[in-house]
């Protein structure tokens, strides 16, 4: 409407512009008519998300505040949340965050050089290596985890080889069903998700900038600390977010290779839902986990934005 007003105003002073004013009006009208089109395009995915993602979440939220699971009564209660923060569950939560953090650190320590080499050094092997990474993730996670069990078991590959070449004389017991195996399998499983965002961030760095750093007297660590890391910080945050949350909520890995000491929060939730029928407590715990994860994501983005990390030159 503003456009039309302006055009009419112009008409008074410059009668010659009549045609232009008419065009303006028609464009404004067309713009208004077409404005719903983008919404139409996104309506389907939004609808799917609302139905199949948010819907169950709302149900879980309702369960978490109801007594139903124990007594069949739907009245409001906070008992589920109280049950969810009992010491034994908090202990598992502690283990979960420690194991997830250790896995994260190892992932990042390994993923950085890997992403660096794929992005900067391997030349024509770049695409094949990326495909190999993606392929390794295509494998069914259960099959992958069972694969690890055959490798780490008492009579598995590692123990057989170690004893075969005489490094150990008895099978190592701590390889499987321990926190070690959980961290190992988590790290291996989520490697593609750590490497790919870091790779993408590395790709935006001009290799000459790294040469300049070297030329100005910096060794590899200084170059990493002052050039590569700041320039890939957004990729770093993305990696943390992409990897940390699925690790924290992974139940297959701790369930299959964790034994009792490597139990994690998601296994407890699974247990509450599928074996003990405690839907209320399970829902409450799920929501607590969601809130904490959300907080982690929020803080990561806050940190990233506050520093105004921009990788464009």
């Amino acid at each position: 409407m503003v456009d039309v007003g302006k055009s009419l105003e112009g008409l008074e002073h410059q009668p010659g512009d009549q045609e232009e004013a008419v065009l303006d009006i028609s464009y404004a009208g067309r713009g208004r008519r077409r404005r719903w089109i983008p919404y139409a395009f996104i309506s389907t995915p939004v609808g799917v998300l609302l139905t199949f993602f948010s819907g169950p979440l709302v149900l879980l939220a309702i369960y978490s505040f109801q007594r139903r699971s124990r007594t069949g009564d739907g009245s409001f209660t906070l008992a589920n949340y109280r049950a969810a923060v009992q010491p034994n569950i908090l202990h598992v939560a502690g283990t979960t965050f420690i194991l997830a953090s250790i896995s994260m650190v190892i992932l990042l320590v390994l993923a950085y050089p890997l992403a660096y080499f794929i992005a900067m050094k391997v030349g024509r092997w770049e695409v094949p290596l990326l495909l190999a990474l993606a392929l390794s993730d295509e494998l069914n996670p259960l099959i992958r985890i069972f694969g690890w069990r055959t490798i780490l078991a008492r009579n598995g590959l590692v123990n057989t080889v170690l004893q075969g070449i005489g490094i150990t004389h008895a099978p190592l017991d701590w390889l499987l069903f321990t926190r070690f195996s959980v961290v190992l399998v988590l790290t291996a499983s989520w490697m593609p998700y750590a490497v790919i965002p870091l790779y993408a961030a590395m790709k935006t760095i001009d290799p000459r900038v790294l040469e300049a750093s070297s030329d100005l007297g910096a060794g590899w660590f200084t170059t990493f600390r002052y050039v590569i890391f700041p320039l890939t910080a957004t990729g770093f945050v993305a990696t943390m977010v992409i990897v940390f949350i699925p690790i924290v909520s992974d139940f297959a890995t701790p369930g299959l290779v964790g034994g009792t000491s490597g139990r994690m929060l998601a296994s407890v939730i699974e247990d509450l839902f599928t074996r003990r029928g405690e839907w209320g407590v399970g829902s409450a715990l799920t929501f607590l986990l969601l809130v904490v994860s959300g907080l982690v994501v929020y803080l990561s983005y806050r940190i990233a934005r506050v520093r105004n990390l921009d990788t464009s030159s």
């Binding site: 000459r208 070297s214 100005l216 007297g217 030159s313």
Partner: protein, 391 residues
């Protein structure tokens, strides 16, 4: 051609003095491709030395070997007299100004320039002082707190220069640093770059494919072609007495006339036969031996005069050709006349003006030149010629 030049050293640097940089028989192969082929050169302290050549001639590879980003396949590289070909870039007393500037995009101008000094064992105050000095030298002090993306191309170029200078390297290497700037800014920066170089007294090794830039800036120029050095000499010598046909053709405009060498009786001057059969003396020669039969006469268009009649046969100081005007091209500050000459060669003459009436296509004129301004180079360019000029 106007140029700014400090008192020029001779083609051969004096011995017994430690060169800032010395390359001895440096070769670089990438697989089957020989990018740099047995080149040798010396750069003296405080010298402005240019590597000039067409793209793909090996000049950038040479620079990257000096900086330490490529390892020579064979040969020796001495920095301040010390063997340095195996040192990594961060341990060399060289700094490189990249063609693309390669500034750290996440750091301010100040932090970019301070990056090098902070890697050395300088006190914080010393670092601050040096950074300010370097930024003032390139007139970028007011922009110290800007990020590179908030600067223009020319300003980034200055920061890149300051980032190299601030470390006071034995040799500052510059890889076509003005290549990305527009012509006017490039001319200004050329003059300023030369001023800065004289002021700081650091040796510059300057890679360029722009012959005018090399002539304007350099104390000495190494002309490279196909991985080899064709000539190392001060600009005037390169221009007036090119060592090879390639040098003559690549640097400045040149009329190249095939001639037959008659004798060397009147040494050092040589007598040649022009394509139209006339005999003429030449001023200077390069690469001519007593066996040379065929050679190329180099005549700069700016040194050719046009006359309406033949030069006096008794005048041995002037050579001349009869020809017909093919076209007359007005180029602003000069008029260029293309001629078809007797015996086949095409010549160009360029001057502010020619005082000949009716200068138009088809008119018969005489192209004349002063003998001492003509130069003769050996027609064939053999490897021994090339290495001969570098020794």
């Amino acid at each position: 051609m106007s140029r700014i030049k400090s008192p020029s050293p001779t083609g051969d640097p004096p011995p017994r003095r430690t060169s800032a940089l010395e390359l001895v028989g440096i070769t670089k192969r990438f697989g089957d491709v020989t990018a740099v082929d047995r080149i040798s050169l010396r750069v003296e302290p405080g010298e402005f030395f240019s590597l000039l050549g067409p793209s793909g001639c090996g000049k950038s590879t040479t620079l990257r070997m000096i900086a330490g980003f490529e390892e020579p396949t064979s040969g020796r590289l001495l920095l301040n007299g010390q063997e340095g070909s195996r040192l990594p870039p961060f341990k060399r007393s060289t700094n490189l100004v990249f063609q693309s500037y390669a500034l750290f995009p996440h750091m301010t101008v100040r932090d970019n320039v301070a990056y090098g000094p902070r890697r050395s064992r300088l006190s914080r105050n010393e670092v601050t002082a040096r950074v300010e000095e370097a930024l003032r030298t390139v007139k970028m002090w007011e922009f110290a707190d800007r990020l590179p993306r908030a600067l223009s191309g020319g300003q980034r170029q200055r920061v890149a220069l300051a980032r190299g200078l601030v470390n006071r390297p034995a040799v500052l290497l510059l890889d076509e640093p003005l290549g990305a700037l527009d012509l006017k800014l490039r001319r200004e920066m050329q003059i300023e770059l030369k001023e800065i170089q004289r002021q700081v007294g650091i040796s510059f090794v300057y890679v360029t494919h722009d012959q005018e830039e090399a002539l304007t800036l350099s104390d000495r120029i190494a002309v490279m072609n196909r991985g080899r050095i064709e000539q190392i000499a001060p600009p005037e010598e390169i221009f007036n007495r090119p060592a090879t046909r390639f040098c003559a053709d690549f640097i400045g405009e040149a009329n190249l006339v095939p001639v037959e060498v008659n004798s060397r009786s009147d040494a050092p001057r040589v007598n040649v036969t022009l394509p139209d059969g006339t005999r003429v003396m030449v001023g200077t020669t390069s690469g001519i031996t007593s066996d040379t039969r065929r050679a190329t006469l180099v005549l700069r268009p700016s040194r050719i005069s046009l006359a309406g009649s033949a030069p006096d046969p008794a005048d041995t100081t002037t050579g001349g050709f009869r020809g017909r005007v093919r076209r007359v091209i007005f180029q602003g500050s000069v008029v260029r006349v293309d001629l078809d000459c007797d015996g086949g060669p095409h010549l160009s003459a360029a001057a502010a003006g020619f005082d000949i009436p009716d200068l138009e296509p088809g008119r018969e004129v005489w192209a004349t030149w002063r003998i001492e301004q003509s130069h003769l180079v050996g027609e064939t360019i053999s490897p021994s010629d090339t290495t001969g000029t570098t020794a």
